[in-house]
Structures are given as C-alpha cells and as structure tokens.
C-alpha cells in the first residue's frame, strides 16, 4: 500500500473534518541496521488495534482514524506504521495520533528485531516508551 494513496483516501473519506494529523514511521538506516522484522500475535493484534481506535475516536471526538501497522521483514526507508486522525481541531487530531502511536509502541502485540552485520537482535522496550504510554491513563 502506498502511503500517499492511503492519506489521500483517508482525506477524501473525511471531507468535513477541520484537520487531519498523521504520523508515518519508517525503518531507519544507519547504525548498521540492514533490516527490521516485525512480528505479532494475530488473534490479539487486530482486535486490540480496533479497540484502541475506538477509544481514541471517542476520547478526541474524531471524524475518522486510520491505524496501519506492517508485519514482516522491511529494509531501511520502508514504512512500518501509519496513523492518521481527522478531527474538528488540530490539537485533538495531534493528540489522537500521539496516543495511538504510544499504544502501538508499548501496548500492542508487536515485537521488533533488527538485523545488523552480526545477525538479528531483538529490540527491548524502552522506559521512555512506557512513560509516554502512561500519559494517556
């Protein structure tokens, strides 16, 4: 799926919202990273993302929310995650994207490992990610 097409379609689907905020996360190159693999536990992931989307939509009065997360092996520059929120006001749209991203990083059933010269390394969750998540409790 193309990121541009996804955002254009989302925009077209929400003509009446005053603003749309989005975040696109990509595999970073550098640091010797050759590839990134995202795995998940499917029976939990989709229902979890749907519940998260409904929670964000209710909390921020959204007209629409797009939450897209890839799994599999990706190379630097490729998109991993795309979140967009359409809302009457900018602050609500921003906060909704921020909240969904924080949950996708620390409260959704995804695991990430990266391949460097010497093989695959699992990415440990960071304390900062958990602190970010706590902002929404």
């Amino acid at each position: 799926m193309s990121v541009g097409e996804a955002l254009a379609a989302f925009d077209a689907a929400n003509p009446d919202a005053g603003g749309t905020a989005s975040f696109l996360g990509k595999v970073r190159g550098g640091d010797g990273v050759k590839a990134l693999e995202l795995s998940h536990y499917e029976p939990l992931t989709l229902t979890g993302m749907e519940a998260l989307a409904e929670q964000a939509a209710a909390r921020f009065g959204l007209a629409g929310l797009l939450a897209w997360h890839r799994v599999g092996v990706m190379t630097p520059g490729e998109a991993i995650v795309l979140v967009a929120a359409a809302a009457p006001h900018r602050r609500a749209a921003f906060d909704a994207v921020d909240m969904v991203m924080d949950h996708l990083k620390s409260a959704a059933w995804f695991w990430k490992r990266e391949r460097r010269e010497d093989g695959w390394h699992w990415i440990e969750p960071r304390a900062q990610d958990r602190a970010d998540l706590a902002r929404w409790k």
């Binding site: 996360g25 995202l38 795995s39 998940h40 536990y41 029976p43 939990l44 229902t47 997360h69 991993i80 995650v81 991203m101 996708l104 990083k105 620390s106 409260a107 959704a108 059933w109 995804f110 695991w111 990430k112 490992r113 699992w122 990415i123 440990e124 969750p125 990610d129």
Partner: protein, 80 residues
Amino acid sequence: MSVRILFLGPLQDLAGKQAAEVAGPLDWNGLLAVVGNEVAEQLRQERVNVACKGRVLAEKTALLAEDGDEVALLPPVSGG
C-alpha cells in the same frame, strides 16, 4: 488434538522454536514444566503475559488449557 504453545518475540530464541504441542489439560505448573528453564524463568516475571484462546489472562497462574486450545507466551512488546 493437543494444546499448542506459541513462543512470541524473543521467547522464540530462548525456546529454540516457535511453537510446541503438548497433551492437555495444561495448567500453570504444567506450562512451566514443558517450556524449558529459560522460558519458565521469563514466564515468572510480571512483564511476560500469557494468552489462552486469544485472550490475555488477567492472572496467568490460573491458566487451564484444554486440548485444541492455543496458549501464547507474550514477552514485553516493541512495535511502532
């Protein structure tokens, strides 16, 4: 028919496999006994969750899986 145990994320490396099949019923102590010492040690940590039949257990030590159920071992996540 048996209980299918899934090792997610880094637990795959500790288990040396992605999945295992064991005869049901399977409770918490049975799980600790069949997954190997390294995975068992992880399971005892609060930050590792267990799901049964597609639902995360609020109290993982209350696990009771029957033949045909899937038990997923869920280490701390790192998505996004």
